[in-house]
C-alpha cells in the first residue's frame, strides 16, 4: 500500500494530475503513446536496471550493448520506426542506459556532411548494423575550440589516399563514445593538408576494427579511457593513428572535395554546420537537463513528506521535513525551475522548427539568433539544472548520499552536460557576442531579432511596486528582469568601448570583460525564461486549478531569482531596499502555498518507479523498507575475503606481541 503520509498529500491536490501530465506531454494522445512505450520497455527483463547500482564498469558496458542489440529486435517486433511517434520516448524509457548513441551521431554526420553517393554507400550499412560507428572529434588537448585540433590528414596524389596521423600525444582522439570497445568505424576530424597547405578541419570516414574478429586495424591504437564519474555503460575511447590510409572518397564531401589532382573545391554554405550543433544542443536540454531535474525533484519531494524529523510543536508528532521553511526553500524553487525550463524548451523547439523551415527554403536569416539561443540556453539550463539536482541530493541528507537513492547517478550524469557539446562559459560568451552585436545594431536604429528588441528601449526608470502583492504581477517582475538584463548588457558594452577607446587592444578588452559578458548573457536568458513562463501561463488552455498553480510556480521562479540576485536589481535603484523586502516577503509567502501541491506537481511528471530507480522516490513511499531490502542485495554483503586475509590475523591478536 501507499505510505499514508504520501497518500494524504495526493488527496488534497488542487488540480487534476492527469490533466497536467497531458499538458506537459503536449496532449492526451502523446501521454498514451509514451506510457505504451514505457510499458513495453519496462516489462522486458533485458532492459531491467534493477542491479545497476551493484555493477562494475565491465558489467555496465556489457548490459548497455546487450540492450542496444535487443532494442533493434524489439523495435522491429513492435513496428516502431525512427520517424514514428514512439521513437522519442524510447530514450526516456531506457533512462539513457544504452549503447550505440554515437552510432546515431555517426549516421547523422554522414547524412548531413556526406555527398549523395557517400550517403547511399554508408547509411544502409549502418542501418543494418553491418558496421558500428562513432564520432571522433575531441582530442586529449582540444575540446570546444575545434580549430585547435591536431590530427592530420595528408593527401597522397600518387595513391589517391589520405594519410591520417596522430602527430603528438595531445592529438590523440579522446572521449568519443562507443569508440573504446564497440565501434568498427568512426568519423574522424583532422586538419586537411594538400600539397603542404593546410585547409582546416575536415571529417573522414575511417575503419578502426576488423569486421571479422573485431581486432584493431593496422596503424590503429584504440581503447577505453577508464573510469569516469558516470557513463560507465559507455566505452568512451581513445584513438591513435599511425600512417593510416583511407581512400579519397572517404572525406565527407557535401560541401567540399579534394579532386584527384589535389585541387581543393568548396561549395555551399558552411553555416549549415552550425545547424547540426544547434540541433544537438537543443535536444540535450530536454533529455539530459530537464528530465533529470524533474526526476530529482520527484525523489526529493516524495521523500520529504515521508521523512519525519524533529517537532514543530511540542507534543506533536514529528513533522514532515517538507513542512520546514528551509526545506521548502531548498526544493520548491527547483520544482518551479523544472516547469520554467519545460516551457522554455517548448519555446526553443518551436523556434527551431521555424528556423528549419526557413533553411529548407535556403533562408539562413534566423541562424544567428537560433545559434545564440541554443548556446546560451544550453549553458544556463544545464548549469541551473545541475545545481538543482545537487540541491535535491543534499536536501535528502544522509540517504541522498546512498546510490540507492538514485540521486548520485542523476547528478554525476547531468553535470557532464555542462561540458559536452560546448563548455558552458564559452557558450555564454558566444551568446554575449551576439548580444553585443544586436545592441550596436539596435542603437544604430537597425532591425534586430524580436527577442532582443528590448535592448533598444533601454530606459532608467523605477519599479512601480507599492506593496508585496504587486510583486505577484507578471508584467511587473518581467519588466524588472528586462531592465536588469538590459542594464548589464549595455554597461558591459560601455565598458568594452571605454577600454578600446583608452587604447587597449580589442581582444584584450574582450578578455578583460568576459566575466561581465558571461553574466550579461545569463541575465538575458534568465529574462527570456521568466518572460516565456509568464506568457505561457497567460495563454494556457487548461482548467482553472492548473492555471492557478502554474501562476504560483511562475511567480516563485521569478521572485526566487530576484531574491537570490538581489544586488543586480538593487544596483541602480530600479528596485529599492523597501521593495526588496516586499520581494522577500512575497517569495516566502509562496512557499507554503506551493508546498500543498508539491507532491501532485511531481506526480504529474509521471515517472515510473523503474525509471526513477530510487529507494527514496517510489510512488508508494515505502522508503525505509525498500532501502533495507535493496541494501541486502549488495555484493558487499557476501562474505568478504578481507576477514580471512586481514581482519582475522588482526583480531587474533598479533598486536599484543608488539
Amino acid at each position: 500500500g501507499v505510505n499514508p503520509d504520501l497518500a494524504s498529500e495526493r488527496q488534497t491536490a488542487s488540480f487534476s494530475v492527469e490533466k497536467l501530465t497531458a499538458l506537459l506531454d503536449g496532449g492526451v494522445e502523446h501521454t498514451r503513446i509514451r506510457r505504451a512505450v514505457v510499458e513495453a520497455i519496462e516489462s522486458d527483463p533485458v532492459f531491467s536496471r534493477e542491479n545497476q547500482y551493484f555493477q562494475s564498469q565491465n558489467e555496465r558496458y556489457e548490459a548497455a550493448v546487450r540492450k542496444a542489440v535487443h532494442l533493434q529486435r524489439k523495435m522491429h517486433e513492435l513496428g516502431w520506426t525512427e520517424n514514428g511517434p514512439e521513437y522519442k520516448y524510447i530514450y526516456r524509457a531506457l533512462a539513457g542506459d544504452v549503447a550505440f548513441l554515437l552510432h546515431r551521431i555517426f549516421m547523422r554526420s554522414i547524412s548531413m556532411l556526406g555527398s549523395d553517393r557517400q550517403v547511399a554507400k554508408w547509411i544502409p550499412l549502418a542501418n543494418q548494423y553491418q558496421l558500428i560507428g562513432s564520432y571522433a572529434q575531441t582530442e586529449l588537448g582540444h575540446g570546444t575550440y575545434l580549430q585547435g585540433l591536431e590530427t592530420t590528414a595528408v593527401f597522397d596524389i600518387s595513391t589517391q589516399e589520405f594519410i591520417l596521423n596522430t602527430p603528438k600525444i595531445s592529438a590523440m582522439k579522446w572521449w568519443p563514445g562507443d569508440m573504446g570497445r564497440s565501434a568498427t568505424h568512426t568519423v574522424v576530424f583532422a586538419q586537411l593538408y594538400v600539397h603542404g597547405k593546410c585547409y582546416g578541419v575536415h571529417p573522414f570516414i575511417l575503419q578502426i576494427r576488423s569486421l571479422q574478429d573485431h581486432s584493431l586495424c593496422p596503424g590503429i591504437t584504440a581503447g577505453d579511457i577508464g573510469p569516469k564519474m558516470n557513463f560507465e555503460h559507455i566505452d568512451n575511447g581513445f584513438l591513435m593513428l599511425q600512417n593510416v590510409r583511407v581512400p579519397r572518397e572517404n572525406m565527407l564531401s557535401k560541401f567540399c572535395e579534394v579532386q584527384p589532382d589535389g585541387t581543393y573545391v568548396r561549395w555551399g554554405s558552411q553555416k549549415i554546420n552550425y545547424f547540426t550543433m544547434t540541433t544537438v544542443r537543443i535536444s540535450l536540454i530536454s533529455n539530459e537537463a530537464i528530465e533529470p531535474v524533474m526526476k530529482a525533484c520527484t525523489i526529493a519531494i516524495r521523500y520529504s513528506v515521508v521523512r519525519r524529523q524533529s517537532k514543530l510543536k511540542p507534543g506533536d508528532q514529528e513533522a514532515k521535513i517538507l513542512d520546514y521553511q528551509t526545506q521548502q526553500e531548498k526544493l520548491l524553487p527547483q520544482l518551479a525551475a523544472a516547469y520554467a525550463f519545460h516551457f522554455i524548451n517548448d519555446y526553443l523547439e518551436e523556434l527551431f522548427e521555424r528556423a528549419y523551415r526557413d533553411i529548407q527554403r535556403k533562408n539562413f536569416d534566423t541562424l544567428p539568433e537560433l545559434h545564440a539561443f541554443s548556446s546560451g540556453f544550453k549553458a544556463m539550463v544545464s548549469q541551473y539544472c545541475t545545481s538543482a539536482v545537487e540541491i535535491c541530493l543534499r536536501a535528502c541528507g544522509g540517504h541522498g548520499y546512498s546510490m540507492l537513492s538514485g540521486l548520485p547517478s542523476l547528478y554525476t550524469r547531468i553535470l557532464a552536460s555542462c561540458i559536452y557539446e560546448g563548455e558552458n562559459t564559452i557558450l555564454l560568451l558566444q551568446t554575449a557576442r551576439f548580444l553585443m552585436k544586436c545592441l550596436k545594431a539596435a542603437s544604430a536604429g537597425q532591425a534586430v531579432p524580436p527577442s532582443v528588441t528590448y535592448l533598444a528601449a533601454g530606459k532608467p526608470g523605477k519599479c512601480p511596486a507599492k506593496n508585496k502583492l504587486d510583486f505577484l504581477n507578471p508584467d511587473l517582475y518581467t519588466e524588472a528582469y528586462q531592465h536588469m538584463a538590459a542594464r548589464l548588457i549595455s554597461s558591459t558594452a560601455a565598458k568594452l568601448q571605454d577600454l578600446v577607446q583608452s587604447g587597449v587592444k580589442k581582444h584584450d578588452a574582450w578578455n578583460q570583460c568576459t566575466v561581465q559578458l558571461a553574466q550579461a548573457a545569463k541575465a538575458h536568458c534568465h529574462y527570456i525564461t521568466v518572460k516565456n513562463f509568464a506568457e505561457t501561463v497567460e495563454k494556457l488552455e487548461a482548467p482553472a486549478g492548473i492555471q492557478k498553480i502554474m501562476k504560483h510556480l511562475c511567480d516563485l521562479f521569478a521572485l526566487h531569482g530576484i531574491f537570490s540576485s538581489a544586488g543586480l536589481f538593487l544596483h541602480d535603484g530600479y528596485i529599492s531596499g523597501a521593495q526588496m523586502d516586499m520581494v522577500t516577503a512575497s517569495y516566502l509567502d509562496l512557499l507554503p502555498v506551493i508546498r500543498k501541491d508539491a507532491v501532485p506537481l511531481v506526480d504529474a511528471f509521471d515517472f515510473s518507479d523503474k525509471s526513477l530507480n530510487s529507494a527514496l522516490g517510489s510512488y508508494d513511499g515505502q522508503v525505509y523498507q525498500r532501502l533495507y531490502e535493496w541494501a541486502q542485495k549488495s555484493p558487499t554483503n557476501q562474505m568478504s575475503p578481507a576477514y580471512e586475509r586481514y581482519l582475522k590475523p588482526l583480531l587474533h591478536n598479533k598486536l599484543s606481541k608488539l
Binding site: R66, Q309, G398, N511, M580, D581, Y628, S634, L651
Partner: protein, 666 residues
C-alpha cells in the same frame, strides 16, 4: 613511463613567483619544524613497500574495502613500531596512508576508543579498553538510524532493563529504528557502542550508550539476535563499510551500559548523570576538524585545477598567436582564484578554532566553561558555512577542468564524493546554521534588554545605540576603504549586524502574530540562516585579516594580503544585495569592488602556481593525473587509461556475445 622533466609551462610559472613557497608552507603547518616533521612522517609511508598498491580507480568496491582494511591493519602496527603518538602526527600518518580517504577503522579509533575513555567506568575500561587498543575488539559507534539523524531525541532503538537477569534487552522495534550508516559496522567491527532509549522500571530515561558485542570472536559470524551488514553502494566512501544493525531481543549484561555518568543499579534504580557540558567539547572538536577538512579538500582541488590550467592551452586570445594557457583567461581566473583565497581563509579559520578549543579545554579541566557556549554556537555555523562553500568550490574546480575533470583520473571526483557528506554528518548544515542563529538571536535579545555581550557577537552592542530609529534598520554608516582589509572587516560586521537584527525583528513580528514559538521560528528560518551565514562570513574575513600581521616574511605577507583582499571583495561582489540594501556600500562602490576583484585576479595570476605548491600535497596524496607536480599531463593520461578494466582484453567479450550475433542476423 612518465617523463621526468618538468613541463616547461610549470617551470616558468614557478620561476616567476614573487615569494618562496616553502615559507608559506611553514605558515600553513604552523612552523618550519612542523613542516619538517610532517614530511618525515610522509616519507615513512612513501618509502614503505607495504603501503603501495594499484590505482584504486580500477578496483571494485569490495576490492577497495579490502585494500583499506589491509592498510588499516598495517597502520595500527606501524604507528606503534615508529612510536608515533602525538595526535597531529597520527593524523598525518593516517591521512597519508589512506590518501585523504576514509578507512574502516576510523570509527574504532576516532569514536569507540575515545568514548570508552570518556564515558566508561574504570572497571569497564579494564574490561574493554586494552582489548580494543590491541584490536581484539574492533568497535564502532552506532547512533544514526534509518529514520533519524541529526535529531537525536527521535531515535527509536530501545534498551529495556530486566532486573531478573540483570541484563538489558536491546531491540530495533521498527524498520526506521535499524541502525544505519555507522562506519565499520557493515563488515569490520565485532562490537558497537549503541545509542538507545533506556527503559527501566517502566520509564523511559532517554538516550544512553551501551557496549554491544555483535559478532562472534573467532568466526566473525553475527551473534544470534543480531542482523548486520553493509548498506550498499554510495556516492563515495567506497572503502568504508557503512553498515546496518538490527537487534531482536538481544541481551547484554547490566555492566555493558557506559556508566561513568548515568547509572542503572542492579534493582533497576536509575541514577541521573551530573550535567556535563563535556559532550559540547567533543562536538566542537569534531566540527573544528571538519572546518580544517574543508580547507584541505578545497586546497587539493585548487592545486589540481590551477596546475592543469597552467598546462592546458586552448583557443586564442590574440589573433595569430599560439594558444594561451587557459589560466590566462579572465573567466578561468574568476572561477579559480576566489576559491584559492577561500582555501587559505578556511585554513586560518580552522587553525583558530583548533587553538581556541585547546585553550578552552585547558580551562574545562579547571572548570571554566564560560566560553564554551559561544564556541559551540560558532563552530556549528562555521562547520556549515565552510563545508557548503568548499563543497561547491570543489565542484567548480572540477568544472574548470572541462572534460578531463569529469574523468576519475582528474582526482577531483574522488575529493568531491569524499568531502560532500560533511554537509550532512556531525549535524546537518541547515540545522547547524539554525543553532548558530539561536545563539545570535539570544545575544541580540540580551543587547536589546540592555545587557552587553562579548566575544564574536560584540558588534551587536553597537546596535543598541540605534534603538531610537523607528522602522527598518539601516546599518550604521561605515566608510569602506576597499583596499584595506580592516575596513572590509567592518563592512562585513555591519552586514552581519543588519541581517541579525532583521531576522530577530521578523521573528518578533511572527511571534506577535502566532501562538506557537516553534511556528514563528520556522517561518523565520530562511532569514535566520542568512543571518548565520553573514555572521560566519564576517568571522572568516576577520580571522584571515588578523593572520596577516603575524606573517614575518614580507613577500609572503604581501601575497597573503592580496588573497585576503580578494576573499573579502569577492564575497561582497557575490552578495551586493545585502551591502546595497543595508546602505553599507553605494552603487558606485559596488562597481569599484567588482572592478577591483578583476584587477586582483591579474595581480594574483603570476603567483597562482606557487600558491598551490605551498599547500605541499605530495603527488601520491593528490591522486590526480591532471594535478601532477611535474605537469606531464597528457602522456600520463594515456598510461593511466591503458590500465582500465575495459581494456583487459584486446577484444571485449561483448563482441562475441552480442555484436557478432547481431551483425549476422540483421
Amino acid at each position: 613511463a612518465a617523463m621526468t622533466t618538468m613541463n616547461p609551462d610549470l617551470r616558468r610559472e614557478r620561476a616567476a613567483a614573487t615569494f618562496q613557497p616553502e615559507l608559506l608552507t611553514n605558515v600553513l603547518d604552523g612552523s618550519a619544524e612542523r613542516t619538517r616533521r610532517r614530511k618525515e612522517i610522509e616519507a615513512l609511508v612513501i618509502n614503505d613497500p607495504d603501503f603501495q598498491h594499484e590505482d584504486l580507480n580500477f578496483l571494485s568496491r569490495s576490492q577497495r574495502y579490502e585494500q583499506a582494511v589491509r592498510k588499516s591493519a598495517l597502520m595500527v602496527m606501524k604507528l606503534r613500531e615508529h612510536g608515533i603518538a602525538n595526535p597531529d602526527e597520527i593524523l598525518w600518518f593516517k591521512s597519508f596512508i589512506h590518501r585523504g580517504r576514509p578507512e574502516p577503522l576510523d570509527l574504532h579509533l576516532g569514536m569507540f576508543l575515545p568514548t570508552l575513555l570518556t564515558q566508561a567506568t574504570p572497571e569497564q575500561q579494564d574490561r574493554f579498553f586494552m582489548p580494543a587498543w590491541n584490536l581484539e575488539i574492533i568497535g564502532t559507534y552506532a547512533q544514526t538510524e534509518m529514520g533519524h539523524g541529526t535529531h537525536l531525541r527521535g531515535l527509536e532503538t530501545t534498551a529495556t532493563y530486566d532486573p531478573a537477569t540483570q541484563e538489558f534487552i536491546l531491540n530495533s522495534p521498527t524498520v526506521t529504528s535499524i541502525k544505519w550508516w555507522p562506519g565499520g559496522l557493515g563488515k569490520t567491527s565485532n562490537h558497537a557502542i549503541v545509542l538507545a532509549q533506556l527503559y527501566t522500571q517502566g520509564q523511559c530515561k532517554g538516550l544512553h550508550a551501551f557496549i554491544v558485542p555483535i559478532r562472534q570472536l573467532g568466526t566473525h559470524q553475527p551473534l544470534p539476535g543480531i542482523t548486520v551488514g553493509d548498506i550498499g553502494p554510495k556516492f563515495g566512501y567506497d572503502e568504508m563499510d557503512n553498515g546496518y544493525l538490527k537487534m531482536d531481543n538481544f541481551r547484554i549484561p547490566r555492566e555493558n551500559m557506559l556508566m561513568k555518568y548515568a547509572q542503572v543499579e542492579p534493582d533497576g534504580t536509575y541514577v541521573k548523570p551530573v550535567s556535563d557540558k563535556l559532550t559540547y567539547g567533543t562536538m566542537v572538536f569534531i566540527r573544528s576538524h571538519i572546518v580544517g577538512d574543508a580547507a584541505r579538500s578545497l586546497s587539493r582541488a585548487c592545486t589540481i585545477a590551477i596546475r592543469y590550467s597552467a598546462v592546458r592551452h586552448q583557443s586564442e586570445l590574440k589573433p595569430g598567436e599560439p594558444e594561451p594557457q587557459i589560466l590566462d583567461y579572465q573567466t578561468q581566473q574568476y572561477k579559480l582564484f576566489p576559491l584559492l583565497a577561500t582555501a587559505y581563509a578556511f585554513h586560518f579559520v580552522g587553525a583558530y578554532i583548533k587553538q581556541t578549543y585547546h585553550r578552552i579545554s585547558g580551562d574545562i579541566n579547571e572548570g571554566d566553561l564560560s566560553e564554551l557556549p559561544e564556541l559551540h554556537a560558532l563552530t556549528a555555523g562555521l562547520k556549515a558555512f565552510t563545508s557548503w562553500t568548499a563543497n561547491a568550490g570543489i565542484e567548480q574546480c572540477r568544472m574548470a577542468c572541462g572534460g578531463h575533470g569529469y574523468s576519475r583520473y582528474s582526482g577531483i571526483p574522488d575529493i568531491y564524493v569524499t568531502f560532500t557528506p560533511s554537509c550532512t554528518y556531525e549535524g546537518e548544515n541547515t540545522v547547524m546554521m539554525l543553532q548558530t542563529a539561536r545563539f545570535l538571536v539570544k545575544s541580540y535579545t540580551q543587547v536589546t534588554s540592555g545587557q552587553q555581550v562579548t566575544g564574536m557577537v560584540s558588534y551587536l552592542n553597537d546596535l543598541s545605540r540605534q534603538r531610537i530609529q523607528p522602522q527598518h534598520v539601516s546599518a550604521r554608516t561605515v566608510t569602506v576603504r576597499i583596499n584595506d582589509p580592516a575596513s572590509l572587516v567592518e563592512a562585513y560586521k555591519a552586514r552581519a549586524a543588519w541581517l541579525v537584527e532583521a531576522a530577530a525583528k521578523n521573528l518578533q513580528a511572527e511571534l506577535n502574530h502566532r501562538k506557537s514559538k516553534e511556528d514563528a521560528w520556522n517561518r523565520t528560518s530562511v532569514d535566520l540562516v542568512r543571518a548565520s551565514e553573514a555572521h560566519c562570513h564576517y568571522v572568516t574575513v576577520k580571522f584571515f585579516t588578523a593572520k596577516l600581521p603575524e606573517v614575518g616574511n614580507a613577500a609572503v605577507r604581501a601575497v597573503l594580503t592580496e588573497l585576503c583582499l580578494l576573499y573579502a571583495l569577492y564575497g561582497i561582489s557575490k552578495n551586493t544585495g545585502d551591502f546595497l540594501q543595508a546602505g553599507i556600500l553605494t552603487d558606485a562602490q559596488v562597481t569599484q569592488v567588482n572592478q577591483r576583484v578583476k584587477e586582483l585576479l591579474a595581480v594574483i595570476r603570476p603567483n597562482a602556481v606557487a600558491l598551490v605548491d605551498s599547500f605541499d600535497f605530495h603527488d601520491l596524496h593528490l591522486g590526480s593525473v591532471l594535478g601532477r607536480y611535474d605537469g606531464n599531463v597528457y602522456e600520463n593520461l594515456f598510461e593511466w587509461a591503458k590500465k582500465s578494466p575495459l581494456n583487459e582484453t584486446e577484444v571485449h567479450e561483448s563482441f562475441h556475445k552480442h555484436l557478432k550475433p547481431m551483425q549476422s542476423k540483421l
